[in-house]
């Protein structure tokens, strides 16, 4: 078990945002969390990466409880998050953004090697290496955000809405890369509005509703669930 989330409760002030969420990831999996806006998907990711504190419950990463570990330490442990809205450092160049991704690492040669790997996955970034992050297009920013997260060589990659605001073609491209990253050994926890897309790459899925998991199963099972089709796949 790479990541185990157990009975997580998170509050925003008085609002009970996560109400006993539990799920788990095996090494090498792609797991997706789907659900409506405000269901608690992003909150879950932010709690795992340490940006939010849970009031109760446990998050175990490779057996270690990380629910009280500081966000910057969690990165060192091997969890990296691509935040919702990408959160590129707009005034920094592409290269500097990637360097920031490798902030936890010291060896320049290894960092350089990682950067080359990122450029191999995202050739567009190499072309724009000296451009400011803020001047990139939406798709390029998403690639940069993912490349940046990979620079810390994470064991677990948390992806929050990677397709947001991207054209279908770019979305397809991003999802192809997600699969590729996964095939190179990185476990991925994917939060995605485009449920269809997410279910097409994931092995397993959890459905969140108003802060709790209401359904779980293999991607295919979830996709074929009539209520899910009705609620989240829209066209049904």
């Amino acid at each position: 078990m790479l990541l185990e989330v157990n009975d997580l409760n998170v509050f925003y002030g008085a609002i009970h945002a996560l109400q006993g969420v539990s799920f788990s990831l095996e090494e090498g999996e792609i797991v997706t969390l789907i659900g409506a806006n405000g269901a608690g998907k992003s909150t879950t990711l932010r709690t795992i990466s340490g940006l939010l504190r849970s009031r109760s419950g446990h998050i175990r990463f490779r057996g270690q409880d990380i629910s009280t570990v500081a966000a910057e330490q969690i990165v060192r442990l091997g969890i990296s998050q691509v935040p919702e809205g990408r959160k590129i450092f707009a005034p920094l160049t592409v290269q500097e953004n990637l360097e920031m991704g490798a902030y936890t690492r010291r060896n320049p040669a290894e960092i350089q090697a990682s950067m080359q790997r990122v450029f191999a996955s995202f050739p567009r970034l190499k072309e724009r290496i000296n451009q400011l992050g803020g001047t990139l297009s939406g798709g390029e920013q998403q690639m940069l955000a993912m490349g940046r997260a990979l620079m810390s060589r994470p064991k677990l990659l948390l992806l929050d809405e990677p397709s947001m605001g991207l054209s279908p073609i770019l979305t397809e491209e991003i999802f192809r890369i997600i699969k590729e990253i996964n095939s190179q050994g990185t476990t991925i926890l994917l939060v995605e509005q485009n449920a269809l897309m997410a279910l097409s790459v994931a092995q397993r899925a959890y459905v969140l509703e108003t802060g709790s998991v209401v359904l779980q199963g293999s991607a295919a099972e979830v996709r074929d669930n009539p209520q899910v089709r009705n609620a989240y796949l829209g066209v049904g």
Binding site: A70, V75, P83, A90, Y103, S152
Partner: protein, 375 residues
């Protein structure tokens, strides 16, 4: 349920476009600018030597402000806090160097340890030691202040930290004024090195005491040159630090988005501490140079330069390092020229009027990023 929909909607069609009247405002500003320009040009041709002399003193003042303004702008850039205590850290820098020089003769240590050293080296090494000591003490002080007064309020409303900043400022001023601390006196400052003045008049000559330079000579001193050189060096090295080094990039990343920075594994608290430390070290350096240039110190010494430097930072666009620098130079000149050609007591008023006018034309300062409205 009663319906209000029956009332006719407001129709603004009768309103004419006011954009055509933009010339009124522009003309007003232009007239003001012209007036200033005319006064300046006339003053220059009236007595070019006096004008140059005034401009030099403005330059010296501006470069001191620049050193303080850098700290303001860095701290604001990263935590969006107007650190009112910054001017008092500047004051502390002056006092640390005062004690180092007057009480411990720290500026003479190379002579004591290496008796054979040439005097010029003794002065240089000794003075550098004094300056470094002040910078280190100020940095430690600022980090402590940050930990005690600002960090606990990082998630509180921004105004709470501003109030504690004012509190810290009062505390430093009046705690420093206690008899067993710095005492409230105006203390004549003993310089670690002497001030030498030259004048330009058919070449450059040394001013010797008791002999007035000839009419029409322009004087300048070594401290003015030191201030300018150090200030430019510091500005450049800060630029290098922020642009090129790992920590500098982390500072920029933290300033832009703290949460994203945390997700990169950046220890935001440490970066903030480092920012405070660097800003305070510059203030400490500024404090020493200021005290050397204007050698009478007391615990309220930092209030006005701190304020002016802050204004300079805002003028240049707060958060921008070159902005702080340019803003400080403008402030220095504005003050000096006002003092020279309008009236010394009016110089604060003029400096602030300039600030307000600049803000009206460029609402986020000269180098400031325009504020974006997200809808």
């Amino acid at each position: 349920m009663q319906k209000a929909n029956s009332s006719q909607p407001f129709m603004p069609a009768t309103r004419k476009s006011g954009a055509r009247l933009a010339w009124i405002g522009r003309g007003f500003l232009l007239a003001l600018a012209l007036l200033v320009l005319i006064v300046l040009i006339r003053s220059f041709f009236d007595n070019p030597q006096l004008f140059a002399q005034i401009a030099i003193s403005g330059l010296q003042l501006g470069f001191v402000y620049a050193l303080i303004a850098l700290g303001y702008t860095m701290v604001y850039g990263i935590v969006k806090l107007i650190n009112f205590a910054h001017g008092d850290v500047f004051m502390a820098g002056a006092f640390v160097s005062f004690f180092a020089v007057s009480h411990f003769q720290l500026h003479r240590w190379p002579a004591a340890v290496f008796p054979g050293l040439p005097p010029i080296l003794v002065t240089i090494i000794g003075s550098l030691t004094v300056i470094l000591l002040s910078m280190v003490v100020c940095a430690l002080m600022a980090v402590t202040i940050e930990r005690v007064a600002y960090k606990p309020l990082r998630n509180a409303p921004r105004i709470a930290a501003l109030i504690t900043a004012i509190g810290v400022s009062f505390f430093l001023e009046y705690f420093g004024a206690l008899n067993f601390v710095f005492s409230p006196r105006f203390i004549p400052y003993q310089r670690p090195f002497g001030v030498v003045t030259w004048y330009i008049y058919d070449g450059i000559h040394l001013v010797t005491e008791g002999h007035a330079p000839p009419q029409g000579a322009i004087t300048f001193s070594n401290i003015a040159i030191i201030i300018m050189v150090v200030s430019i060096l510091m500005q450049l090295s800060l630029q290098f630090l922020v642009r090129r080094t790992r920590i500098g990039k982390a500072m920029r990343a933290t300033a832009f988005d703290k949460q994203a920075a945390q997700l990169m594994g950046i220890n935001v608290d440490r970066i903030i501490s480092v920012t405070f430390a660097i800003g305070a070290a510059f203030a400490g350096l500024g404090g020493v140079l200021y005290a050397i240039a204007y050698p009478s110190i007391n615990t309220l010494l930092g209030v006005l330069p701190g304020l002016k430097a802050f204004v300079a930072a805002v003028l240049g666009g707060i958060g921008s390092i070159p902005g702080a620098f340019i803003g400080a130079l403008i402030m220095g000149q504005a003050e000096s020229l006002t003092a020279g050609y309008i009236s010394t007591p009016m110089r604060d008023a003029i400096a602030f009027t300039i600030l307000i006018i600049v803000l009206l034309v460029r609402p986020t300062g000269i180098f400031g990023e325009p504020e974006k409205e997200k809808v």
